[in-house]
């Protein structure tokens, strides 16, 4: 039986998969980036559909606002408008399809083998306050250490950027 919620799910899934498919088959690199954007927005939509709003918003901030913009900028700086990408050799196509199929098979096998248990606890939506508390919690189930380790990684990346950008100026004295 199709109810409204299922229809919405299939629409979102169609958007995600269709965007991904178009993104790998188009020969215009900028269009590929935009189709990727649709695919990512579709995933965010599925998170919204699951009422997991925080992850959905983070998906949009990180992938749409960050990564797609970065991809588009690198296309702007390197490509010409309206140029088609060269056609790929058959061997490469087959190899990529094989790699994708292996990844897909692995995921499917995992899903089929996993025993899904019915959740008994009430499914009240997780609030941001809960996420924040567990993100910086030091007790059982807290993520303070991984959180800080990741921020150290980001700090190292920032320092690296500054070192690369700070080429020593020619001596002016």
């Amino acid at each position: 039986m199709m109810n409204g919620s299922t229809i919405v799910f299939y629409l979102l899934a169609l958007q995600t998969l269709g965007g991904g498919l178009l993104s790998v088959t188009t020969r215009q690199i900028f269009r590929a980036a935009i189709y990727l954007l649709f695919s990512l927005i579709g995933i965010a939509g599925i998170y919204f559909w699951l009422q997991y709003q925080f992850i959905a918003a983070v998906q949009i901030v990180v992938y749409v606002g960050g990564i797609v913009v970065l991809i588009i900028f690198s296309i702007f700086l390197t490509q010409q408008t309206g140029e088609l990408l060269p056609k790929q050799r058959l061997g490469r196509k087959v190899f990529s399809a094989l790699a994708v199929f292996c990844g897909f098979a692995l995921t499917i096998v995992q899903i089929v083998q996993h025993k899904f248990t019915q959740a008994n606890s009430d499914l009240s939506p997780v609030t941001v306050a809960d996420i924040g508390k567990s993100m910086l919690g030091t007790n059982d189930g807290g993520y303070a250490l991984p959180f800080e380790v990741v921020s150290m990684l980001l700090l190292a990346a920032l320092v690296g950027c500054i070192v690369i950008a700070l080429r020593s100026k020619p001596e002016t004295t």
Partner: protein
């Protein structure tokens, strides 16, 4: 007191009586969509006329005064002109994306309307992450500008789009930090919680100097994010003809134009919600009589009054300051606004922990 929630529950009950739940939900969504589109049309007309009148008076001119009494039908006439104009598509443009970009811009602006509380109990979607949702969805805005700039196949458009991208990505930071300072004080991202916390006074008064500083940085950052002068490098008409919408005409141009004004309205509404108390009336401490009089003014009037005050401030900026160069723009963000708002966020956090605000 009469409130919008009564109206909403009334419509909901009437619909669920007649139709099955899925259909009545769909009808409610369509109703909300029609309401938002109507608001868009009215906002477009009012804001364009307001901009033209404000700019005229600030430049010692009269402004539109021929169409209708005192020129109030001018923007209606402009809209009619744009509706009947041909929407050209350049021959060597990426036609699919070229025609898609204005719709993306307007869809994003519509999505941003969802968590805004227009009056007491008048809010489309009071979601748990309200403020984060706004900053997340508004980051899609830049992509419509980038698509428009690239698909026009025009060097001015491309330059405008790149400038706009660099500008929006960098100013998002200080806008986010100044929003965060309010969130730190409230302890919630939900719009209704933020408004409720200002029942006894707006944050700009309760939060001492740090709140004033973050209000100022917020206004500057959102002026840059909506690509308005003095930060209008993306469409700098004296350098890039019209930037990313150089090739657009007719209704497609009008959609970009409308999206710009609606975005100005949205950021001002967010500013009014965060710093000026949304639809909360103005209360002073223990003056019961005064507070009572203020309560009689409808909450929607409070909201729209505050929002239009902020819109006026942004227009005031536009018609006073000259445009920044790209290096000045990035200097302002990375050397001044970002350090100041970071220090300010630290001070606000200390204030929230020590309970120094009222």
């Amino acid at each position: 007191m009469w409130s919008f929630s009564g109206l909403a529950t009334g419509i909901d009950a009437w619909l669920t009586q007649r139709f099955n739940p899925a259909l009545s939900l769909t009808i409610e969504m369509v109703l909300a969509g029609i309401a938002v589109i109507t608001l868009f049309a009215v906002l477009g007309l009012v804001l364009v006329l307001m901009e033209r009148k404000v700019s005229a008076w600030m430049q010692i001119r009269l402004g539109p005064n021929r169409v209708g009494p005192k020129g109030i039908l001018q923007s209606l006439a402009d809209t009619l002109k744009l509706l009947v104009k041909e929407g050209l598509t350049p021959n060597s443009a990426d036609k699919l994306l070229f025609n898609f970009a204005p719709f993306l811009a307007i869809i994003v602006a519509m999505l941003l309307m969802a968590p805004i509380a227009f009056a007491k109990d008048l809010q489309l979607w009071d979601l748990n992450i309200g403020v984060l949702y706004i900053s997340a969805v508004s980051s899609i805005m830049v992509i419509s500008i980038l698509i428009a700039g690239w698909s026009s196949n025009n060097k001015y458009s491309l330059m405008g789009a790149m400038r706009s991208g660099a500008q929006i990505v960098s100013y998002e930071l200080s806008a986010g930090l100044s929003v965060l300072s309010v969130v730190v004080l409230v302890g919630s991202l939900q719009v209704s919680d933020i408004i409720k916390s200002q029942a006894d006074g707006w944050w700009i008064f309760k939060g001492h100097i740090p709140m004033v500083v973050s209000f100022v940085t917020f206004i500057i950052a959102v002026t840059a994010e909506t690509n308005r002068a003095p930060f209008d490098l993306a469409e700098a008409e004296s350098e890039l003809t019209a930037g990313f919408h150089t090739e657009y005409s007719g209704m497609k141009f009008a959609l970009f134009f409308l999206a710009e004004y609606v975005n100005v309205f949205i950021v001002c509404a967010v500013g009014a919600t965060l710093f000026l108390g949304g639809w909360m009336p103005f209360h002073i401490g223990h003056w019961q009589g005064f507070n009572h009089v203020m309560d009689y003014i409808p909450s929607s009037l409070w909201f729209f009054g505050k929002t239009f005050l902020l819109i006026f401030v942004i227009m005031w900026f536009r018609w006073t300051f000259p445009r920044l160069r790209i290096d000045q723009l990035l200097n302002l963000e990375w050397k001044y606004l970002l350090p100041i708002s970071m220090v300010n966020l630290l001070v606000t956090t200390a204030m929230a922990i020590l309970g120094w605000h009222f």
